[in-house]
């Protein structure tokens, strides 16, 4: 009986094994969906209509990087679902293969989106763009013209209400205003399109709306969502993601395509993102993968996805459900312009947004702002430096190696040195693993970074250019040395930022540390915990909280300022990030908040080692409280404070979080410090890794030099 069972089990196992080996492995499909869309995809795959599928949800911000790392090694997916605007990059890196399909049943714009140089790379699944949200409680009718928005409101809007909530400083949201004047962000031949009369007029219109108080200033996505959800915006321009936020039953709203602009008679056409299923080169060779892709884009699957996930299909032959929101987005998508797939598009955003901000802030007229944006674009898109000869590098490395070898040989011949080495061999055994870890995790990346700084071009096709990157940085790329955004200008800002911050950290930390060390203070432990709290909270959380507090209309700082009006002080809300001084002050305030607890703790530690009788002796000797502080406390805690100040200076010099999250370099990159500037070159300006690495090497050199210098000073003038 048992034997029979065992036999049956063995046969079953063998059969399973054979079938697994014989049948190909399941089709691997990567996606970045969440929530409804993820569930819809899972349901489709689970229906089994397209064979066995292995699904993997990859975070969207890591999607491209993971594809780039996995596919060349043959490890990646057979199919992946991503936005079409990344196709340019994927094609260039060879991550995606051509995927022919019958375009007849698809929206022409969707087909255009996945077509590069006459070839289609992916089958469109869905279309996403922004549309006009209408709050039915505030609005009488759906206006056809933009200019009629104000007159279509039931009654004049009270204060705290806005007519149209949209992220007016984002180039993505400005694009519909631009298309209404016949303009485009990226022109033919990868030229900068956001320039000229059309662009200027679109900016004038947006500025006009802001000046009338019809749109909120400095609105980000969260604010737009908050305004519309709470019923304080009559209209909003936003995408399907806002609808997901509007679950409250009380809000009655419609979604309609964006209106037309009367001066031109043209429709405001938003940018269209097409989500398509794409095939990796390996996947393109697998019939079952192609079958799955075709099935995912089929009419049946599209209908299913539309019902479940409420997304607008890329197909035109799918019957729309009765959902009015979906119908609104579908109509909006019909008039939308596909986002350009060219990699040049990535260089468009930053200069465009800087120009938009400058115009909206009133710091520059549209023409000059746009010309400046074009110059920035051209600067970022400038051709990489010519490849340089490797000979000097080889000679330099060779010379260094020979010198090192010679020095080693000379040391090795020294009998004292040899004896010392022999004696310390057991000690090396204890530190070797730590040394290895250091080499792997610290020196390795450092050297790799330094090596990258000698190259130019995008990852994958970089070339050795010698010191050209350094030369370009140090010569301000041929422009004036102290122009905005030049290395020297940013360095000056960074130095000022470091000095000011460390001075404030020290002043505040020392004062509080001394106060908290007073023996008579009650509830000392409570204060201590409260004051260390800013340090305990992750810095990016703090930074985002402070950015919110500095919002011009809705921030806590503004609310406080307005309170001052009650006392007869006439203050206007400050647009903190419109001017260098206030933006810099906001950054410094945030960083001082983050940094003073460290100095305070160090001070408190130093104070505990301070002999009480010495302070009393000074008191009897006639020193006032201030004199005791300056003449006794400060000199005595100084030796403990110096390393803390040096550390604090290095941290502040490289305090990326605060600068990037609070001011984000505004206005116009003026508050950027060296690290955030390096980040922008690496990740927002055409992935110029070599150039960014050169920045990093310079930062390293500066900090290294500064610490050596301060050590030297300390040795020269010991306490």
């Amino acid at each position: 009986m048992l034997a029979a069972r065992l036999l049956a089990f063995g046969v079953a196992t063998f059969a399973l094994l054979v079938s697994t080996l014989a049948g190909a492995s399941p089709v691997r499909l990567w996606h970045a969906y969440r929530g409804e869309e993820q569930r819809a995809l899972e349901a489709l795959v689970a229906s089994g209509a397209a064979g066995e599928v292995e699904l993997l949800a990859v975070p969207s911000d890591a999607f491209a990087a993971k594809l780039g790392a996995a596919i060349p090694l043959g490890e990646g997916p057979d199919l992946f679902i991503d936005a079409h605007e990344r196709l340019g990059d994927y094609v260039r890196q060879g991550l995606v293969a051509e995927l022919p399909f019958d375009p007849a049943a698809f929206a022409p714009s969707a087909v255009r989106g996945v077509t590069l140089a006459g070839r289609t790379y992916g089958i469109p699944l869905s279309r996403k763009c922004v549309a006009l949200y209408v709050n039915r409680d505030l609005v009488l009718s759906h206006p056809e013209w933009l200019e009629d928005l104000a007159s279509s409101v039931r009654s004049p809007l009270a204060s705290g209400y806005v007519l149209l909530a949209y992220e007016n400083r984002s180039a993505y949201y400005h694009a519909p205003w631009l298309t209404a004047f016949g303009g485009e962000l990226l022109a033919e031949g990868d030229r900068f399109g956001f320039v000229g009369e059309r662009a200027e007029r679109s900016l004038e219109l947006a500025k006009n709306w802001l000046d009338r108080g019809w749109v909120p200033s400095n609105a980000d996505g969260a604010l737009v969502a908050q305004l519309f959800r709470s019923g304080r915006a009559a209209f909003a321009i936003s995408g399907p993601w806002l609808a997901g936020d509007l679950h409250s039953e009380s809000l009655r709203y419609d979604v309609v395509p964006l209106p037309k602009v009367r001066v031109t008679g043209l429709v405001m056409r938003p940018m269209l993102t097409i989500e398509a299923v794409m095939a990796s080169p390996r996947g393109a060779r697998r019939p079952e993968a192609l079958k799955l892709a075709t099935w995912l884009a089929s009419r049946e699957a599209a209908g299913e996805r539309m019902r479940r996930a409420h997304v607008v299909s890329a197909r035109t032959d799918v019957e729309l459900p009765a959902d009015p929101v979906l119908r609104g987005f579908s109509a909006a998508a019909d008039s939308a312009v596909p986002m350009p797939t060219s990699t040049a598009m990535r260089a468009v955003w930053e200069p465009s947004e800087k120009a938009i901000r400058k115009v909206l802030n009133g710091t520059l007229d549209p023409r000059s702002a746009l010309r400046e944006a074009q110059r920035r674009f051209d600067d970022v898109r400038r051709p990489p430096p010519p490849p340089a000869s490797r000979t000097p590098l080889v000679i330099a490395i060779g010379a260094a190696l020979i010198a090192a070898a010679l020095a080693l040989v000379r040391r090795a011949r020294d009998p004292v040195f040899r004896a010392e080495v022999r004696a310390s061999v057991p000690a090396y055994r204890y530190v070797i693993h730590a040394a290895l870890v250091l080499v792997l995790l610290v020196f390795g990346p450092l050297c790799a970074g330094a090596a990258i700084s000698l190259t130019a071009g995008r990852p994958g096709d970089s070339v050795y250019v010698g010191l050209a990157n350094f030369w370009a940085i140090l010569s301000a790329r041929g422009g004036p040395l102290f122009a905005s955004g030049s290395f020297y200008c940013v360095l000056a800002v960074t130095v000022a930022w470091t000095l000011l911050n460390v001075a404030c950290h020290l002043a505040l930390g020392l004062t509080l540390g001394v106060l908290l060390s007073r023996p008579v203070l009650r509830m000392k432990a409570v204060y201590r915990v409260l004051l260390i709290l800013p340090w305990a909270v992750p810095s990016y959380v703090t930074a985002l909280a402070w950015k919110g507090m500095f919002h011009r209309q809705f921030g806590a700082v503004t609310a406080l300022l307005l309170r001052a009006r009650a006392f007869g002080v006439d203050v206007e809300p400050i647009d903190w990030f419109a001017r260098f001084s206030t933006a810099f002050a906001a950054n410094v305030a945030t960083n001082v908040w983050l940094g003073f607890p460290f100095m305070m703790v160090v001070t408190m530690a130093a104070m505990t080692s301070l002999p009480r009788e010495v302070l009393e002796a000074a008191e009897v000797d006639g020193a006032t409280r201030w004199q005791r502080f300056t003449k006794i406390v400060v000199p005595l805690v100084r030796p403990s404070m110096i390393p803390a100040v040096a550390l604090g200076a290095v941290w502040t010099f490289n305090m990326f979080n605060v600068v990037f999250l609070v001011s984000g370099g505004e206005p116009d990159g003026q508050t950027d410090i060296l690290v955030s500037e390096a980040y922008r070159w690496a990740f927002t300006r055409q992935a110029q890794y070599g150039y960014a690495a050169a920045y990093s090497v310079l930062i390293f050199g500066l900090l290294f030099g500064a610490t050596r210098l301060s050590d030297w000073f300390r040795r020269k003038a010991p306490l």
């Binding site: 000074a618 000797d621 005595l636």
Partner: protein, 360 residues
Amino acid sequence: MASVAIERLGKRFGATTVLEGVDLAIPDGAFAVFVGPSGCGKSTLLRLIAGLERPTEGVIRFGERDVTALEPRERDIAMVFQSYALYPHLTVRENLAFGLKLKKLPPREIDARVAEGSRMLGLDALLERMPKQLSGGQRQRVAMGRAIVRRPGLFLFDEPLSNLDAALRGQVRVEIRKLHESLGTTSIYVTHDQVEAMTLADVMFVLNRGRVEQFGAPLDVYARPKTRFVAGFLGSPSMNFLDGTLAFEEGAWSVEVAGQRILLGEKSFGGLVRGRAVTVGVRPHDLTVERVPFGGLALTLTFVEELGGESYAYAFVDGSPFVVRLEERVSVKAGDTLHVAVAADRVHLFDRETGLSLRC
């Protein structure tokens, strides 16, 4: 120069009372010593006088000036701390000049005073050193020099010799007394060491449990202790105490202790009541050895300490330890019986309940 007067001074730290109802007066130019066991409040009293602590109640006057609410720097005082409290980041010269610079004296005056002070204390060779390069005795001198150059109205010393070794301590003690005699500044000196107290003081204040038990010229206090505590605290080895009962027989007073009798003589004084329970105090030095037992105590020795010039014989009387100082080489050993007597005027009598002397 100032006299110091303290009235009803009290200091509490939370629920702990450190000083209570302290009244004292130190005449101008006197060298006063506060002496007492640890925890008696003597250091706190000094810190109150310095202004480093605030009294809970009472008044402190320097001369006619009420200084109770003043900051230390407004009191015109200088203080020498137990740990010396030199400024570790300043040279000896800067340490000496610190208070003078704060007073904004002209530099020439500062130099002159520092020179004078360092000459008085023999610090000339050390002026450019840092405190950590000095020995304990040298640091102590710098601390004194720092006080002297300020020419204050009042010197305060907080156990300044306790961190020195025994030989140095005796030497510096003499120097302090000499300095006081040449400067004539009112000084207050806190110590737990009765030798320092006896040798230095013009007027000595014995403190116990936050109160002044007795004050006066050191020898007076030694000879006529008002309480059993003072009697026991001063003198080394300390006074022998025995419990007894007063008796009056054959026209003479005596105390009966464990069946033996200590004669007090015929002279009567207040507090002598027949049958009264008393504590008898006899200093080891005041006992004389009797060849013929008469009106004294018979002791069975448990231990004899020979110190060369003198020796101490130990015994128990009625369960209490008893010490006798033997002047010359009296050849006794443990187990011997010794008859000792004491002159009637050297017998101290204390009420057994209150501990107060019956003689005052």
